[in-house]
């Protein structure tokens, strides 16, 4: 487990919305660009890594109660996406790394902290 703030610092992410949510604890993550797949497979509290930038990602993150969204590959949220994310309090974070690298680093961070805690 790590907080959003710790993840932002470790992965060098840019915070585009949800600045006040940096204390949120992240227990897991999900990677995908197919919205139905993300809705089927992701869990509450996951940090979702995607390349999609349109406003439907906010709807998906909101209805699945995700901890936030990481846009990989330096993708920036569309203007209406950002506006909606701010309104709904969904953190959008931008990573300059690929989705593959971002997911690898996030997994490493969350799972190593899990191991550290359990002994």
């Amino acid at each position: 487990m790590a907080t959003l703030g710790e993840i932002v610092a470790a992965l060098d992410l840019k915070v585009r919305s949800g600045e006040d949510k940096m204390g949120t604890e992240v227990h897991g993550g999900y990677t995908g660009d197919l919205l139905s797949d993300v809705m089927a497979g992701s869990k509450e509290g996951d940090l979702w890594i995607t390349r999609q930038t349109h406003q439907n990602i906010v709807a998906v993150a909101s209805l699945k109660d995700h901890a936030g969204i990481i846009l990989a590959g330096g993708a920036e949220p569309a203007a209406d996406t950002l506006e909606k994310a701010k309104r709904e309090g969904i953190p959008i974070l931008v990573s300059n790394r690929s989705a593959f690298e971002t997911a690898g680093m996030l997994f490493e961070m969350i799972s190593s902290q899990k191991t550290g805690r359990s002994g």
Binding site: L34, H54, L63
Partner: protein, 115 residues
Amino acid sequence: MRLPNDVVRRAALVTYESEINIVSYADHGRIYLKVTSDYVMIEAIDKGQGIADIELAMQEGYSTATDKIREMGFGAGMGLCNIRNFSDFFRITSDVGKGTHLKMVIKIDKLFDGI
């Protein structure tokens, strides 16, 4: 009345998938929501092309989505599967050239079986 979180989340998910289907494939449609103390019922009724082969449409990965729909991250051929999997009761009927009718029930009281 306060509904359990998982009921709200599942109801939102199946409603959202139904809405995407109507916007993507039908001419127009309506979504009805009924909330009782035992269950949430959602019906999505559209007028449009309908579905010729429901069994095929229910197969995961099968989709007739256009490139434009796919660019948005939809059209993975999972929408109807999600609707079925996240509902406690699911029924789909369709008339080609007329439209499609989805009916979903999500139980609040797990023992309720009066659908």
